[in-house]
Amino acid sequence: MLIAVFVVFAIGILGYLAYQTSIMIQTQQLRAIDSEIDQLNKQYQRLGTRGLVVALQRNANRPGPGIYYVADPTGQAIAGNVLAVPIDVLENPGTHTFKYDRGEDLHADDPRAQGVALVKSFQLPSGFRLVVGRDIVERRGYSAAIFQAFGWGVLWIIALSVIVGVLTARSVLKRVDTVSDTARKIMSGSMSERIPVTKRNDEFDGLATNLNAMLERIEQLMQGLKEVTDNVAHDLKTPLTRLRNKVEGALKDGTTPDQQREALETTIEECDQLIRTFNALLMIARVEAGSPSGAFSPVDLADVITDIAELYEPVAEDSGITISTELAALPRFSCNRELIGQALVNLVENAIKYAKDAKENPAITISLHVAGKNMIIEVADNGAGIPVEDRQRVLERFVRLEKSRSEPGSGLGLSLVAAVARLHKGTIEILDNKPGARIRLSMPTEH
């Protein structure tokens, strides 16, 4: 369809060009004839009929397409290079086209024996008839050549465009096929499948790269979901079992009201802990899905840190831990204040747990500064620190190192911090504070 439109269009343009060209040639020939007539006319005025005839004969003897003919008032040919001119051409001044005999030594049915002339004829004041013109068979041949060239051009263009079109379509279809192949493989379960990227670096590669990045993200989310369900099974079922046992025990015969009451109170505590874990899980899921980004606003992070430090300062002091802050004066930072606050709380609560077993002067330092294009918040303690081999693991959901198992907590604290960091396009790192741990939250200032 598209090719047909293209072909019609190409033929149209080329045809128009050829037609215009032939018109132009005719106009040019008529102009040449006019100027020749002009010259001959001057010759005639200067030198009279004789001069004219001489000049005309000179022109006529020159090889070329020129046609010249002079007849006296009786119609008798005087000079020229054609044998005869039809009588009505001689009698009617103006532009004419006629067939003539070239008078060469050619066989009569040779097409070259006959010529076609485009002429102007007019009558001189003395009664002489003058005919000047051009053999237009030559011009016609020229036009035909032009038309033929155009025709070939059209044919070539059509042929080439069909070939190129078919080749392009085929390569495009082939690449679309690879995409749909990959999609099919992924649908049938192999999530790690990726669309091949060529070295051509064209639009298709851009598309493939983006689709691959999307697949990567989806796989990550699915992985996260799977981890959560696995962990929920373990970390929620355990306390639920404990809860059930406790209630069952309280319902046994022979328990005193006091014992039942105590059992109920523990049940509520356990429930609250479960609710907290559940809330934390939901929050991580929501943050990872990126949904609360609408609540971004410019926040003075130094204020947030001061608030949290002050909130936890009495608790820390009760455990003999000092909390100090090192805050650079910085412009407001666009973030979700609640979530940054929550992340800081988690970090500080962790730090308090860890700083408790510092050898001397347990202390926590919260610092804020900018490094390059990143806003850096660090919470450092001087406790036992986190062994290198555990550093990556503690960021995962529900991972609790042995030493913290006895402390309250869900094992979700750092996962939430990591999720909050990701929401702000940042990262969380666990560094060595020598002694102790230094958790670094870095978030790009432009996001």
Partner: protein
């Protein structure tokens, strides 16, 4: 059934509960009754809206997800009709954004399910009192304890007490709601402006410091811990 009975709390409030879960509603109605309040119940959004706009209530407790009409649109419509009855939104959604949309719709407070009844009771009592006029006082007094909000002066029996700025705000909030229970989360929300549930006893430690400053060595105790609920300041 046992509910924390609280002396000095508001009694006889007329409450409209719009909640579609029958069991949760029955539990709440009974518990509110034991706390001395009268509760009407609507089980869907349309009925709830009709009741709220045709009768006078001291407080509305509105579940967010309701059959026939959602909780937020009920509150929005009431506010559009200049009905300023305080409304507490109950929701199973508890994210920061949900809270913001809830409050923006005209809700006065937001409580995430599951909640402790003591938390709900403390919040609706504070809400109902908030809507009562004559509260823009510049000074509070509870027994021999006075707090001047302008000069930031705090005295107990004529003796000046020096407080940290945050301790001042804590005491100010408690005294503004003297005779009412304020929960730990209410304190965290109103004094620190954070809406999370701290895992450790951060608020308790702040309160025990405040208590040392205002009650230590005094013949009578003003700052009371209400078991299972929170704190209350009263003479």
């Amino acid at each position: 059934m046992f509910f924390p009975s609280v002396e000095g709390s508001l009694v006889g409030m007329k409450i409209l509960l719009i909640e579609d879960d029958r069991e949760a509603a029955n539990y709440l109605i009974q518990a509110l009754d034991e706390a001395g309040h009268v509760t009407h119940h609507a089980a869907d959004g349309e009925t709830g809206y009709a009741m709220a706009s045709s009768m006078d209530y001291d407080i509305l407790i509105v579940d967010r997800m309701l059959p026939r009409r959602d909780g937020l649109s009920i509150i929005e419509s009431l506010r559009a009709e200049n009905d300023e009855t305080p409304a507490l939104i109950l929701s199973a959604l508890g994210e920061v954004d949900d809270r913001v949309t809830g409050l923006r719709a005209g809700g006065d407070d937001y409580l995430t399910k599951p909640y402790a009844f003591s938390e709900l009771l403390a919040r609706i009592e504070v809400l109902a009192r908030r809507s009562a006029p004559a509260e823009a006082s510049t000074a509070y007094q509870v027994g021999g304890l006075t707090l001047d909000r302008l000069s930031r002066n705090v005295e107990r029996d004529g003796e000046k007490i020096t407080l940290q700025p945050r301790e001042f705000r804590l005491l100010e909030y408690l005294m503004k709601h003297s005779g009412q229970v304020v929960t730990r989360t209410m304190l965290l929300e109103n004094v620190w402006d954070y809406h999370f549930d701290p895992q450790t006893n951060v608020i308790d430690v702040h309160m025990s410091r405040l208590r040392t400053k205002i009650d230590k060595g005094r013949p009578s105790v003003l700052l009371h811990t209400i078991r299972g609920a929170g704190y209350m300041i009263r003479a």
